[in-house]
């Protein structure tokens, strides 16, 4: 039975896997092929993203296209390259062997990319070679005879310009042809005789590629010049790091200033909704749950969507243009001083938006120890969920004055909090590398791809993914935490003739009061203790929780007054600083811990991370509180 008839009989669509080296335009081709009909998920046990999409070929075959992680070789060096190898060989759990492979290569870099094709050809599976970015190759005067290449290799060869959808019809036609005459009764479910290529086998492949190119390349293209010229500036020993710093500064500046308007809209919208609900609902428990619990809480979190999207916009643009690897190049020596790989810069930068995609991005780091250290310190990068707390406390306790001729004090404190996180992360990495996670310095072998204009479709799809993940988090974890928190702080109701605010007598108050002795040495009162309980699940909830705690405290003024004013009046400066220090380190995000567990495949490292961050947070808060008290901040 052929793959085609299998599909026709309705068993399943034919499965085509896209395989190719990084920077071959594979994902762009995948986006062009499948458009919006993509499904992203995870491979079981790891957070390597599984991307697939359904389409119907002109010949009427339903096809599932699978976009495999970029890989230079089937000899996998990193967890995501291992996925590519295992899927291609039919070893991946819950994945059937693809019916055909499409090897995507960069036509301007065939000398390097055809080697992977030779590895794939040895597997003996139906295979199509795609020469992508053909327009760039032609612009440089390069002429390749696809007929000669196809004849030499014995497989179909298609040229494409994935970004402009050129050649996609040809590719689909070839897929049709393969499916029509697919190896009858194939029945192969796995490839068992594959062995890792030896160094000499790799050398032999290089020679074979040389020979193929001599046959097929009619005219050499001129080498690329723009990238060289740009790198002369961007990788310059002095200008390079300065430009990187300026870019990072611009990025964080944009996160704060561009996001202002959309954040105001969300704020206004939520306030309107709250007012409308207050006006149109009967006084009841349900109303209290909706208005005080859900709308206020969700509003306090959704408001950070613009900042997260702007941060990711920058990251996606830097990544798609090819600059991100330059940043890794520039940072490598600095990071290797604490035993990290330059590649760790990319996941750590993503962690400024959210630690979870950062932890996921660490999968591109080949060595397990390097990767583990990167994962363990990712939560120390100031993620956007900390911002609400920082903004609130800074506004309440740091005067809006300027120091040293024009630098805003509030901004300076914010910068200090970011810097503390970074320095803390580097210190932790250094200590881990010297103690628990000792090991050799791992090699850095990283392609610096040619610069190109970012592809808007890729960037938009990436942003859409991030927004979906964030909103899903709000809809699941954060929403349920808010409902639980509302319940805990509403029941049981205050007894007759109560002197304390109602929440004092609730379950939340009970938990807060139980924790209070433990948190008193670092200056936290029972209100903070209550807010920290839900804040352990997702840190941004703490602001909403503080709002709830003070709004429900029966203090009429607190409901209407801004939380800022309330806090400024009821907390000491030392307490506020201590809470800020706590927030720099504390592991307050269930989703991150879950991601670490998934990524390291054990609770061991997730637990370790929780414990060490908790200890650091307590220590930092304790020192901050005591020092602030001694200096008169009480």
């Amino acid at each position: 039975m052929t793959a085609g008839t299998l599909a026709a009989e309705g068993f399943r669509p034919a499965r085509i896997a896209l395989v190719g080296p990084p920077n071959s335009g594979k994902t762009t081709l995948f986006n062009t092929l499948t458009g919006g009909r993509q499904k992203t998920g995870n491979y079981p046990g790891v957070t390597v993203e599984r991307k697939s999409g359904l389409l119907k070929t002109p010949g009427g075959h339903p096809v599932e296209v699978l976009d495999l992680p970029g890989s230079y070789s089937l000899r996998a060096r990193s967890p995501d390259e291992a996925i590519t190898r295992d899927v291609v060989l039919g070893r991946q759990a819950r994945e059937t062997l693809p019916d055909a492979l499409v090897c995507v290569t960069d036509a301007t870099n065939l000398g390097q990319h055809l080697r992977l094709l030779l590895e794939l050809r040895q597997l003996g599976r139906p295979l199509i070679l795609v020469l992508n970015m053909m327009d760039i190759a032609q612009k440089r005067g390069c002429q390749i005879s696809t007929e000669a290449l196809s004849r030499q290799l014995g497989i179909p060869v298609v040229t494409t310009v994935a970004m402009r959808k050129h050649g996609v019809r040809d590719l689909l036609g070839q897929i049709d042809a393969l499916l029509n005459q697919a190896p009858a009764g194939d029945g192969v479910t796995a490839i068992s005789d594959w062995v890792e290529p030896s160094p000499d086998a790799i050398r032999a492949h290089h020679r074979e590629v040389e020979r193929l190119l001599q046959e097929a390349v009619v005219r050499e293209g001129a080498p690329e010049h723009l990238t060289r010229q740009l790198d002369r500036v961007l990788l310059h020993p002095v200008a390079g790091p300065l430009i990187l710093l300026a870019l990072l500064f611009l990025m964080f500046q944009a996160v704060f200033s561009w996001a202002e308007a959309p954040m105001d809209w969300i704020d206004g919208g939520m306030a309107g909704l709250q007012q409308w609900l207050s006006a149109h609902m009967e006084e009841s428990l349900l109303k209290s749950l909706l208005v005080d619990g859900i709308v206020a809480g969700v509003g306090g979190v959704v408001i950070f969507l613009p900042q997260i999207l702007i941060l990711f916009l920058f990251i996606l643009l830097l990544e798609d243009s090819g600059y991100m690897t330059r940043a890794a190049f520039l940072m490598d020596r600095l990071m290797s001083a604490v035993g990290l790989n330059g590649r760790a810069f990319i996941p750590l930068l993503s962690s400024f938006a959210c630690a979870i995609p950062g932890i996921m991005a660490a999968r591109t780091i080949a060595h397990p120890l390097d990767r583990l250290v990167t994962i363990l310190i990712a939560p120390l990068m100031t993620c956007s969920a900390r911002l609400p707390v920082y903004v609130l406390l800074i506004a309440a306790f740091v005067p809006a004055t300027t120091v040293w001729g024009g630098i805003g004090l509030q901004g300076l404190v914010m910068f200090g909090l970011y810097a503390t996180g970074i320095v803390g992360a580097l210190a932790v990495a250094g200590v881990l590398r010297l103690t628990l996670l000792r090991g050799d310095r791992q090699p850095l072998l990283m392609e610096l791809p040619s610069y190109k204009w970012p592809n808007p479709a890729n960037v938009l799809l990436g942003l859409w993914e991030r927004a979906k993940i964030f909103m899903r988090r709000i809809g699941t974890i954060i929403l349920s935490v808010l409902v639980i928190l509302w319940f805990l702080s509403t029941f049981p109701a205050a007894p007759e003739g109560a002197t304390e605010p109602a929440i004092y007598y609730s379950f939340a108050g009970l938990i807060g009061r139980t924790l209070e002795p433990l948190l008193a040495p670092i200056g936290f009162n029972w209100q903070i203790a209550i807010a920290l309980v839900p804040g352990l699940a997702a840190r941004e909830v703490a602001v909403a929780a503080l709002g709830t705690v003070y709004a429900l405290s029966g203090d009429e003024g607190a409901v209407t007054e801004a939380l800022t004013t309330t806090l400024a009046q009821s907390w000491t400066l030392a307490t506020a600083l201590s809470l800020l220090a706590w927030y720099v380190f504390a592991p307050q995000c269930l989703a991150t811990l879950a991601a670490v567990r998934r990524e390291t495949n054990s609770w061991r490292w997730a637990t370790f991370m929780f414990v060490y961050l908790m200890a650091l947070a307590y220590l930092a808060a304790f020192v901050t509180y005591r020092v602030a008290l001694a200096l008169g901040g009480g």
Binding site: Y72, S73, R75, R77, T108, N109, G111, Q112, R115, P197, S198, P199, I202, R203, A204, H206, R207, L213, E220, P223, E224, T227, R228, D231, L235, H236, P237, V238, G240, P241, T325, A328, F329, L330, D332, R333, L334, S336, G342, R441, P443, L444, L445, M446, E447, L448, P449
Partner: protein
């Protein structure tokens, strides 16, 4: 593929260049330096394979483009005028480089520049 005789000739050629002091590890080259790879050998098999997979293979032409701002590490190396790869000095020293124009005209890889070893 190279026969046995071809390998012997290569080894002889390598010995001649080493004696003449015309070879050096890639890690010692400075930006602007160009050359042809004579040997890729590392005590660690995985590093050797990693280098080979990224295009550092005997016969390929290399040009050192940049180095990092601290300790001149890592290096950015252009291979055969097409792919640029970043690697650290330590790994780069597993790549032995000889003069560019010594092995006759291979137009695909030659840059037309004089062999400059620094």
């Amino acid at each position: 593929m190279d026969g046995h005789g071809g390998q012997e000739r290569q080894l002889f050629e390598l010995g001649r260049l080493v004696k003449a002091g015309l070879t050096q590890p890639l890690g010692l080259m400075r930006p602007g330096g160009v050359g042809r790879i004579l040997a890729v050998q590392s005590g660690e098999g995985d590093i050797e394979r990693g280098l080979l997979e990224m295009g550092f293979v005997e016969g390929a032409c290399v040009e050192v483009l940049h180095h990092g701002f601290l300790g001149r590490d890592p290096l950015a190396v252009r291979i055969n005028q097409t792919m640029t790869v970043a690697l650290r000095r330590g790994e780069a020293n597993a790549v032995l480089v000889g003069p560019l124009l010594d092995q006759g005209a291979d137009t695909r890889s030659s840059t037309g520049q004089e062999a400059r070893l620094s």
